[in-house]
Structure formats: C-alpha cells, structure tokens
Amino acid sequence: MRAIHKGFSDLSKGDFACCQRSFTEADVARFANVIGFNPYGFIKEGIVPIMLVASMISKVLGMQLPGPGSSVELFQEMEFISPTFIGDTVQAKVEIKEKLQKYHHVLFKTTCIKQDGSTAIDGICRMKVLVS
C-alpha cells in the first residue's frame, strides 16, 4: 500500500472533521497502564486524564483531516477548560481556520466538547502539509 497524500490545495478554510467517544473507567485504567502512573486518584474522583481526551484531537488530524501521510504536526496549544468525567461522551472537532500559502502551513481550531455542550479542551494546531 502506498501513502495516500492529501495535498495543500485539497484543503479549504472551513473544512472540518470530528470523532466521538465515551470514556469508561477501564479506559482510564488502561491509559494509566500504558503511560505508567497510578490511576487511583483519577478513578476515585471519576476524572479522565486530560491527555487521553486530548489524544482524540491528533487522532482526527492524523486519520481524517488532513489525514495520514502528507502532513506533520508542528505546534499544538491547548487550554483545559473543564474536566472530563468517566461516563462523559466527548466530541473532538478540528476545523481549518487559515491556510498560509508561503509555508504550506494550515491552522486548525481544535475543540473537545462534552455531551452537555460544555468545552473540555479549546485550542489551535499548526500543521505543515508536505504535498502541494
């Protein structure tokens, strides 16, 4: 299989992609095992580690928009607005805000919104697209 490249010219301002996920206690325990920390505090308070929630953003960027193979994540800025609790369903959304022709950089608005409409993570991401 060859890499499917989505080029800079295939991307437009306003393009967006989303993914959705509900978090379970098992997710938290598993994430703790993979990263290497004690999940006791998180499980006791029912909180989902923020990096597990944030990983949804790079999942959407990497698998959907711009998708695999053609781009590199350069910079990500995240503000953690409110905690995500075990049982919450989160939607991660990435939306193209700006295209910088000169460097083939694309600026995304990246958000994670919970089922009640409140924001878990608000941020931006800058990617470099390697293919024209």
């Binding site: 299989m1 993979v34 920390f37 990497g62 800025e77 995240m78």
Partner: protein, 141 residues
C-alpha cells in the same frame, strides 16, 4: 491508608524541576494506538510509514506528551494541581528504541492567580529535543 501529599503553592519555587526517562518499545506504540483509538498508519503500518517523510513508523505525539502530564501530575506540582494549559511544539520524531527524557521546570509563579508556569522538554538519547512546550498549573493549596 495515607492519601497523597499535596504541595502548597508557597512550597513551589522558580527553578524547581522534576523528570522521568523511558525507552520506547513496539508494545508502547501498539498499546497507545489501542487506548487512544489512533490507528494512523504512520504509527502502526511500516510499509505505509516507509513511504512518508519519516521513512518508518513513529510514536504518537501524545504518547510523548503524556510523559509531561505524568511528571506534572505525579511530581511537580503533583496531585492537587489543576492542569490549565499546555503548548506543545513537536520538533523531531520519536521511534521505537529511542530513550526519552522528560523534564519540567518551574519558570514563573503568578501568586494572584495561584498559577505556576512550567517549561516542559522531552529529549532523546542524542540530547535532541523532540517535544518542547510550556504548561500552566493552578495550585489552590
């Protein structure tokens, strides 16, 4: 059972630092793909990855970023701190076999907002930076 020690805002000083180090394995990448749902072929498909600028599989950026939250959450400021902000600049790829050192250092304190600002840096075995950034924590104690 003894609960975790919670650091107070006044106990934290500019210049305080903490770190961890870990070698990245094949299993780490597969496990992180499973737990995050991020099965981007750049991480899990060698033939696909070989065809990209990276010339082979790389670890998830958020796997490395999780080391930062690990050091912050467990050591500095540790339990009781509220993660408010994190900037990440991905400066080089991380591959299986790389040994990543993650270091966080307090670079500023904002007493009126009970915030501490930390510089967060991940470097590989060649001392090259792979992930640099800044974190902001709220320490209410």
């Amino acid at each position: 059972m003894k609960e975790y020690e919670i650091k107070k805002f006044d106990e934290i000083a500019v210049g305080d630092s903490a770190w961890m180090r870990r070698t990245i394995t094949e299993a780490d990448i597969v496990n992180f793909a499973g737990v995050s749902g991020d099965f981007n072929p750049i991480h899990i498909d060698e033939l696909f990855a070989r065809d990209t600028m990276f010339k082979g599989r790389i670890a998830h950026g958020f796997f490395t970023a999780s080391f930062i939250s690990n050091v912050i959450g467990n050591q500095l400021p540790g339990p009781g701190g509220v993660y408010v902000k994190q900037d990440l600049r991905f400066t080089a790829p991380v591959r299986v076999g790389d040994t990543i050192a993650t270091r966080v250092e307090v670079i500023d304190k904002i007493p009126e907002k009970k915030r501490i600002i930390l510089k967060t840096i991940c470097t590989n075995q060649d001392d090259n930076e792979v992930l640099v950034g800044q974190a902001e924590m709220l320490v209410l104690n």
